[in-house]
């Protein structure tokens, strides 16, 4: 089976349509997107459509649309963007617990019919406790995973049964639930990506997901985990950033230009650490000499900006080889990101992907 490549949807306002943007400017925009003066919370169809068309062109399978209080809502964004694209799929992130499963499935199914079948789901159990409280959710970390399990169990009942749904759990209760709008695609239920590094996240993925989504590590380190997940019939998808240049030195130069000067560093570090996420706690502990996990995998930005800034960098050939190494241990999908997203997706589509396909 061929590797599948997805990309992060850029923040609103991040895509510069008719001029150029430096990697530093792109990174800064993303860092500041959670400040109240940023335009990132306002939907940006023009920039998004521009990016989406380039992503389709580059051979990207889907875009992941993240969920947070700082951003527009992913299902609604997918709907608008899906009207303007033909092939591109959408992985909409959703936090379980913020809606009743019945209404969630109704929205999700409606969306699947409006953008024929081009829709997958990324379930996140929660983020910081503070942000969850703002959404009316007062459960603790592990309980949120238990609830997410029930949430997805109800969703699967709707997707798998034609008739009425009945469910009685600790967190949800549905009696004779009926929905007439089906999930419309060439599969009965969407692909479900479960993210997280914690034990409950892995258990949730195994019981309710189709794919475990986690931050990249070296292929060697990931081997046992991937084998365990694959044995259960699930896929593994890695989240990572890429910097591809003609030489490794050029790529490193770009990467280092993104390091903050020390003052900004301290400030940003505090906002990047989402207190309730094991992935973020692990990320915050990284840095220093340990920042090169391999010749091409760098975590130098992680202590400042969080684990999803883990970066694969090098020449097109090096990147293609690294991706094929992941394939050899059983990883089958990637969700990537770069600075700027637009330039990096173009480079990836032109330089890296053909090498990967050739080897496959």
């Amino acid at each position: 089976m061929k590797l599948r490549f997805h990309w992060m949807l850029p923040k609103a306002g991040e895509v510069v349509v008719n001029s150029t943007q430096t990697p530093e400017a792109a990174a800064l925009y993303r860092i500041q997107s959670i400040s109240s003066s940023s335009p990132a919370p306002r939907p940006d169809l023009e920039g998004w459509i521009h990016f989406a068309r380039h992503a389709e062109e580059a051979g990207i399978d889907s875009v992941l649309i993240s969920f947070s209080r700082y951003e527009p809502e992913p299902l609604v964004v997918s709907c608008a963007l899906g009207q303007a694209t033909k092939k591109l799929k959408f992985i909409a992130a959703h936090r379980s617990g913020l809606m009743q499963p019945t209404i969630f499935v109704q929205q999700f199914n409606t969306l699947s019919a409006l953008i024929p079948g081009r829709l997958s789901l990324n379930i996140v159990a929660g983020s910081s406790t503070e942000e969850q409280h703002g959404y009316g959710d007062f459960l603790a970390h592990d309980e949120r995973y238990a609830r997410a399990g029930e949430f997805l169990a109800v969703c699967h009942l709707f997707w798998q049964t034609e008739g009425e749904v009945n469910f009685e759990g600790r967190h949800y209760r549905v009696e004779q639930g009926k929905l007439h709008t089906p999930f419309l695609a060439d599969r009965k239920a969407p692909e479900i990506y479960i993210s997280g590094h914690s034990e409950p996240a892995e258990r949730l993925a195994l019981s309710q997901g189709t794919c475990l989504l986690r931050v990249a590590d070296t292929a060697e380190k990931l081997r046992p985990l991937v084998a365990r997940i694959r044995e259960q019939g699930l896929e593994v998808c890695l989240r990572l950033c890429v910097i591809c240049r003609e030489t490794r030195e050029e790529a490193i130069q770009v990467a280092e230009s993104l390091l903050p000067d020390s003052d900004i560093g301290r400030h940003e570090r505090s906002t990047a650490v989402k207190n309730d996420s094991q992935m973020y706690r692990e990320g915050a502990a990284l840095g220093g000499d340990a920042s090169w996990l391999s010749r091409n995998l760098w975590t130098g930005l992680v202590p400042y900006f969080g684990p999803v800034w883990t970066t694969l960098l090098g020449t097109p050939r090096e990147l293609a080889n690294a991706l094929l190494d992941y394939k050899s241990v059983g990883v089958s999908q990637f969700i990537m990101s770069g600075w700027p997203e637009l330039d990096e997706v173009n480079i990836f589509g032109r330089k890296v992907l053909p090498l990967v396909r050739e080897a496959e």
Binding site: P43, L98, H133, G134, R173, G177, H180
Partner: protein, 364 residues
């Protein structure tokens, strides 16, 4: 101010349906009905026709047998430029923070062309399928809390804190604002005839939405709302033909066959809705509420099938009568949906606008 006219959005597949009978609830609630699926082609045709002839908004109804209203508004909004969307939603099915985030996102994607029709709930059985086990009165109490939180997000734009009986939010923050040229929050229509519905509309709504009745009956109610600065909107059907007699003939041809008619009645009689009970009683007792307002279709098509019928001149005059007692908006349907809307736009609306122009000139 001129009267505002909205139209009921067609169900999936309805734009292609030629008779009222095909759109009956018995048929559209069957699980294989085309009403279960989005119908972008028909909807876009309808939406563009609506904005062309001067219809301000479409109302998208919410139920388990139709696609989700917020996402339909988003998709059809991409293909239209002026038409607004009154999105019906039931309070309590999602956290208010998430709901506001979706509505705000939608507003940013369709230039603020979104309003809300908040419904406290439907039948107890349908609510339980949505995971909601509250009783009728409690659902209204929850809707009150729900809208209080929504309005805090829209008004304050800072942190929202709320600790109620049904909803709790701590340090709630949403960065995506409600985006519209002229408002910081959507218009909110509250429907229902019960005392709780009226109280909710007065406390949290910008308009009370109810079924049409005669102007005499509505006058005291309209006064009550206008005093508090809340508008009154009426839901009705319109059948306009060149004469009243022809309109009556058209209306009678819409009565369903016997089987469907009986099934329809038995569905309707199971409802808890006070609106529907009142409308059914009117249909049984009198049939005609006045010379132009007919309840004959209600037993078969539900309470919103209370029908105003007549010639263009008669209808225009009737709408202006409602304006005189303080009604400001109408949400209309007719069969076939597109044809009746086109007749209204061509024949009735110009007469109303002309008369409003004369009044404005006389008072100006």
């Amino acid at each position: 101010m001129s009267l505002r006219f909205h139209w009921m959005f067609p169900k999936g597949g309805e734009v292609a349906m030629k008779t009222a009978q095909e759109t009956s609830r018995v048929l559209t609630t069957r699980s294989r009905s085309p009403a279960a699926l989005p119908d972008m082609e028909g909807w876009v045709r309808f939406g563009r026709a609506a904005e062309e002839i001067g219809i301000e908004s479409v109302l998208l109804s919410f139920s388990y047998y139709e696609p989700d209203t917020i996402l339909i508004a988003c998709a059809v909004g991409q293909a239209t430029t002026r038409l607004k969307f009154i999105v019906a939603y039931r309070a309590g099915l999602m956290q208010p923070t998430t709901f506001v985030q979706q509505i705000n996102t939608l507003s940013g994607l369709i230039d603020g062309r979104v309003a809300l029709n908040i419904v406290a709930g439907s039948s107890a059985a349908e609510q339980r399928g949505y995971g909601d086990f509250l009783e009728h009165d409690e659902r209204y109490a929850r809707a009150e809390e729900y809208l209080t939180i929504c309005r805090c997000f829209w008004r304050d734009r800072g942190e929202v804190n709320f600790d109620g009986k049904y909803c709790r939010v701590e340090h709630g923050q949403l960065f995506t604002p409600f985006i519209a040229a002229d408002r910081i929050a959507p218009e909110i229509y509250i429907s229902g005839h019960s005392e709780q519905a009226q109280r909710l509309a007065l406390a949290q709504g910008t308009s009370w939405l109810r079924l049409i009745d005669t102007p005499e009956k509505l006058r005291p109610l309209a006064d009550r709302f206008r005093e508090k600065g809340v508008e009154v909107s009426l839901r009705l059907c319109v059948i306009c033909r060149s004469t009243r007699e022809e309109a009556i003939k058209a209306a009678q041809s819409m009565l369903p066959g016997e089987d469907i008619g009986q099934e329809e009645r038995s569905i309707l009689s199971g409802s808890e809705s006070q609106t529907l009970k009142q409308a059914l009683a009117a249909a049984d007792n009198v049939g005609w509420l006045n010379r132009h307002l007919w309840a004959g279709l209600v037993p078969y098509y539900g309470s919103s099938a209370m029908t105003l019928l007549g010639s263009p001149e008669e209808l225009a005059e009737i709408f202006l009568n409602y304006e005189r007692i303080g009604v400001t908006q109408f949400i209309i349907s007719g069969w076939p949906k597109l044809d009746e809307m086109l007749i209204f736009g061509r024949e009735v609306l110009p007469l109303i606008r002309k008369a409003e122009g004369r009044t404005a000139a006389a008072s100006g």
